[in-house]
Assembly symmetry: C2
DNA sequence: TCAATCCGTATGTCCGGACAATCGGACCGC
DNA sequence: GCGGTCCGATTGTCCGGACATACGGATTGA
């Protein structure tokens, strides 16, 4: 198959990462077809002038992403699955933009309020202490799609309404130097209350998809707590799970 | 801190895995408190009589699980997050059993049918070709909680109704030597039809939580396709996401 | 013909070392 | 007091090698 692989040792990009990117690209545009063997690690290392641990590190990163499967005594092969989008901690805004939807955001509320018990517990702050509260309506094609209510601990970020309408909350946090680490999510469903129905353009009692999420940064601090409601006719959660071995 | 760590070189369990398990246990029952440093890798390796790569491999596996965070120039520390359950490809049955719910299963249908277009596409088989169809009702505390309809490609597994009522589908597949690899899931909501309401003990038009999933084994073959509906008052999806770096 | 065994091959694990990049605090000069 | 610089500490990357282990096919035997 003679894959066109090469590494640039003068680049600051780690060698294993360069190799991983090239392999991923080869898989993506079909140079490496599903099921095909990757060639053994020793020979691959020799061909590229790399050591075997470096090659293994590159391959391992793709195995972790679910693109490759290793079999002892057999080799490493490309996974067949058609859909290979991994599950990431992403924002609704990014999801929609990636789908080419060009989402619009309307900020309904952007203020500071005393933390209710549930919010205080989620964010790990004292009850009744000040927290930011942001309520937003997300629209696609001029129609409401989601109502989002988020709480942020004070002093983390200054929330500009203009910026909130132009981009997503996660992107603002990342831009402020916050390293997102993990999030705990609960997805459920319930009937719309009158107020929710009004906001989303549904009938009262209509089914709504609900999501509650607490996001943590790399130090373990909670940086965001939010309760969202979605119109199930216009949005559903879609993701891929991997088995951890 | 003087953690009580040790490895058994005569064990067939890999050294890095032994170390990872001990560290995870120490975190779990509080010997390693959130935020505490883990001590540098070199010294840790020396203390255990291991090489640094081995220690790094153990630490890395816990970083991948979201338990630890590494900081160059600083050290490795335990993440603060309270909830550390990772997102796994798990079955409803396992989830419930882990929560101590002792779920009951009632098999409504267990037969072979010609594949409809949607099923054929999901499983990668020809339309109208034979596939297994299993319909089950999952109950907790005597009350219906979920209605599940699953399709399996032929010849993969012989589905015994008795076994299906005693355990979960995933567990049967694993027992049959199938290595589960990944799954693509869609979670949404909609109003219950008359038939669904009847089955689940809800009113017609009541909100239902829906899940559609295709599961793949490690060769990339689809091994299961299912559409499930849940009573939102009795079940919601809960999981933790990690940022891939 | 079929089953058990052998063997080549590829990944899995582990070692010991080297240098680079980055973080944080200490030190120093202004 | 304040800011910049230096430096120790720690992880990040990379090397080259060694042996163990498991898979699959070929060979061998019944």
């Amino acid at each position: 198959m003679a894959l066109d692989l090469s590494v640039d040792r003068s680049s600051p990009v780690p060698l294993y990462f360069q190799l991983a990117q090239q392999l991923e690209a080869s898989i993506e545009h079909g140079a490496l077809t599903p099921g095909s063997l990757l060639g053994n690690e020793i020979e691959l290392a020799a061909r590229l002038g790399l050591s075997r641990p470096t090659v293994r590190q590159a391959i391992q990163s793709l195995v972790d992403k679910g693109l490759l499967v290793r079999r002892r005594g057999v080799g490493t092969q490309v996974v067949h699955s058609k859909v290979r989008r991994p599950l990431e901690l992403s924002s609704l805004f990014d999801d929609l933009e990636a789908a080419g939807q060009r989402p619009a955001t309307k900020v309904l509320v952007n203020t500071v309020v005393p933390a209710a018990a549930e919010v205080a517990a989620a964010l790990g702050v004292a009850e009744e202490s000040d927290v930011h509260r942001v309520e937003r309506l997300r629209l696609t094609h001029g129609e409401p799609m989601a109502y989002m209510c988020n709480y942020l601990p004070p002093g983390l970020l200054d929330l500009d309404t203009g910026q909130l309408e132009a981009t997503g909350l996660y992107r603002l946090m990342r831009a402020a130097g916050i390293t997102l680490h993990s999030a705990r999510q609960t997805i459920g469903a319930r009937a719309a209350t009158d107020g929710e129905a009004e906001r989303l353009g549904e009938d009262a009692g209509a089914p709504l998809l609900t999501m509650e999420r607490t996001t943590f940064d790399d130090t373990g601090r909670a940086v965001e707590f939010g309760t969202h409601t979605y119109r199930p006719s216009r949005y559903s959660f879609e993701f891929q799970l991997l088995v951890r071995s």
